[in-house]
């Protein structure tokens, strides 16, 4: 059988290779063992990263970590990450507020109106491509359209950068989930005399509710741990966010965030700063993996992602 698969031309069939059954089974076993080692190695790396982050991060978790802002003095042994945690929540929420409605409607367009038309196909292709664009480029883009013209960094610019990363993900997952809803449901809704928008929102989206929530959550999770888009948009700050406007506000100036703070602190030679960075890493991992597992458990009914 081996010769047949390797060389389809009959003329080459003559020198049929003969190998012992034992030899073939041995090779088979070696490959199976290698596959297992590979898979276990992948899982071990995952476990190792988790272990490192948990062990080192837990040491930094105390009351001050969750209540004090990041210390100005790199040699201090007090201070926490509270202002950065709040900042990350605000920046991510801002991104979600921009990207979820637009991404959802774009997904509705692709699934319900655009379908296989030329416009929808191009939108689909563009968003597929952009999903693979490195996040730092999106940061550069947000810098170019918001930071450079306005002459100041802002939390809002960070949100815009993150929203940009979320948009295509949100649109494509919404589309995929809406496509899973059987057409009969749409037809019966329309047959009852309901207008199209009502059928879409009240029937189709209601049927796909779990998947839509999962999709939106995973889109948020995807950007929550991003650093590169915030490096030169939200920048970092040692202070609490002061409001919406003004130099300490969301629209007016740099906003502290966990990932940029982690980046600065991990590069610092002082142990307390490094400890705070690990605390931040643990916080972000708990948030990301927690939400990830939670939505999978809650809403995943046999559907594979």
């Amino acid at each position: 059988m081996s010769a047949v698969a390797e060389s389809p031309r009959p003329s080459q069939l003559a020198p049929m290779r003969r190998r012992s059954v034992v030899g073939r089974k041995a090779v088979d076993l070696v490959v199976k063992v290698l596959s297992w080692i590979g898979a276990l190695f992948g899982i071990a790396v995952m476990g190792f990263v988790l272990y490192e982050v948990i062990i080192r991060g837990l040491k930094a978790w105390n009351v001050a970590f969750f209540t004090q802002p990041t210390p100005l003095d790199p040699m201090s042994t007090s201070g926490g990450m509270a202002n950065a945690i709040l900042g990350t929540i605000i920046i991510t929420a801002g991104a979600a507020a921009i990207a979820i409605p637009i991404g959802f409607m774009a997904g509705v367009y692709l699934a319900e109106f655009g379908r296989n038309g030329r416009v929808a196909t191009s939108i689909r292709m563009v968003s597929n491509v952009v999903m693979g664009v490195p996040s730092i480029i999106v940061g550069v883009f947000a810098f170019a359209i918001l930071v450079k013209p306005l002459q100041h960094y802002s939390g809002f610019a960070g949100s815009v950068a993150l929203a940009f990363l979320m948009l295509p993900v949100m649109a494509r997952t919404t589309e995929d989930i809406l496509n899973l809803v059987p057409n009969e449901l749409r037809e019966s809704g329309l047959a009852m005399g309901a207008p199209r928008w009502r059928v879409t929102l009240r029937v189709v989206c209601k049927a796909a509710r779990g998947g839509l929530i999962t999709g939106a959550t995973l889109a948020v999770v995807r950007v929550a741990g991003e650093t590169a888009p915030l490096l030169f948009t939200a920048l970092s700050s040692f202070y609490w966010i002061t409001g919406l406007f003004g130099p300490g506000g969301y629209f007016g100036g740099p906003v502290a965030n966990i990932t940029k703070a982690m980046y600065d602190m991990a590069n610092s030679p002082y142990p307390h700063m490094q400890a705070l960075a690990w605390g931040g890493a643990l916080f972000i991992m708990v948030f990301i993996l927690g939400l990830n597992i939670l939505v999978r458990l809650l809403f995943q009914r046999g559907k594979e992602w």
Binding site: A39, G42, F113, L235, M262
Partner: protein, 337 residues
């Protein structure tokens, strides 16, 4: 998509009869164009925004494109004081670290995908697959931190000295160059960490294309007395061949643009070319990340944005190639990708 396009005019089923229903129907008829308009606008917004990204990058990097010309791609320099910028070292570092990552990640991803598709019970496969996919959700910066605090010391104290003590250590490309810094912070270390960051993506796509292999074909192989490995190598892998190439493209595109982990680990030496994978170097993304916030010189900012544009074009080329390739595979094999 298997569903059939239905486009029933919304008026078709409007309730007839009472005045009340009729006025209601008329009011609601406005809802549809508005809803459809909003959805279409959002869809177009998405496309326009993405194209806008490219346009903005070109506009903002124009001073560097015209001012520096091809020197950007062919020289090694990064000096705001003399206004000389050349990103050759970053280009070389990017490709070298990506190459190291792919050499490690591709075989590993393939054996894992084989395991998931052919060897284990679907339930086990789902659990193992989920854990590996979870690797993808670990933020880049966390990989960078684990890398700098544990993998860099390991490389420096154990692996790199050992490799250099073997005959392999004399081979050009491995033998340390003038910038050698102990091998801990190096292109190789960055590549190793990158490998685990792209592993889930390559595994997921490979698994999906291997699933497209028709069961009947595999059963025919088993029926002829083949072992599992023979079926994999001569049927599954051959069938999924081109799909796996697409998976590799996707992984390559991802690895090219990874920023934070690489910025931590690659050593940020951007004024000379690396002589070996164990030398420190820089990558396009980490060069941008490390220099952008300090850049005050207009030409430097423009040059950094041009680097962003180069990276954008590179990743788009890889994405488009991968997408087109995978679509072709899907058409040829008639399965789902």
């Amino acid at each position: 998509m298997s569903t059939v396009d239905i486009d029933i005019p919304p008026q078709a089923g409007a309730p007839r009869g009472s005045m009340k229903a009729e006025t209601r129907g008329r009011r609601l008829r406005l809802g549809d164009p508005i809803f459809r308009g909003l959805a279409t606008a959002s869809g177009l917004f998405l496309a326009v925004a993405m194209v806008g990204l490219g346009v903005v990058l070109v506009i903002d990097s124009w001073p560097a494109i015209t001012g520096l010309g091809t020197k950007m791609l062919t020289t090694v320099a990064w000096s705001p004081s003399t206004g000389e910028y050349g990103a050759l070292a970053a280009l070389v570092g990017t490709f070298l670290s990506t190459l190291v990552a792919m050499v490690i990640a591709v075989p590993l991803a393939l054996v894992i995908a084989l395991l998931l598709v052919e060897l284990v019970h679907p339930k086990v496969s789902r659990v193992v697959g989920t854990v590996i996919e979870m690797l993808a959700s670990i933020p880049s910066i966390v990989f960078g931190m684990v890398g700098i605090f544990t993998i860099v010391p390991f490389m420096q104290d154990h692996l790199v000295p050992w490799v250099l003590s073997t005959p392999l250590g004399k081979v050009p490309g491995i033998a340390p160059g003038p910038n050698y810094a102990g091998g801990g912070v190096s292109i190789f270390t960055a590549g190793v960490v990158l490998a685990f960051m792209v592993l889930p993506f390559i595994t997921a796509v490979s698994r999906d294309v291997m699933k497209m292999v028709p069961q009947v074909t595999k059963e025919a192989g088993y029926g002829l007395g083949s072992t599992t490995w023979e079926v994999m190598r001569k049927i599954s892998l051959r069938y999924a061949n081109s799909g796996i190439v697409g998976a590799i493209f996707i992984g390559f595109g991802r690895a090219l643009g990874e920023t934070m982990a690489v910025a931590f680990l690659i050593g940020s030496v951007f004024t000379s070319l690396p002589h070996s994978v164990f030398d420190p170097g820089t990558s396009i993304a980490s060069l941008i990340a490390l220099n952008f916030s300090e850049a005050t010189d207009k030409l430097q900012i423009s040059a950094l944005i041009e680097l962003g544009l180069i990276l954008f074009i590179l990743t788009i080329l890889f994405q488009v190639a991968a997408q087109a390739w995978l679509r072709r595979v899907q058409r040829v094999t008639g399965g789902r990708a």
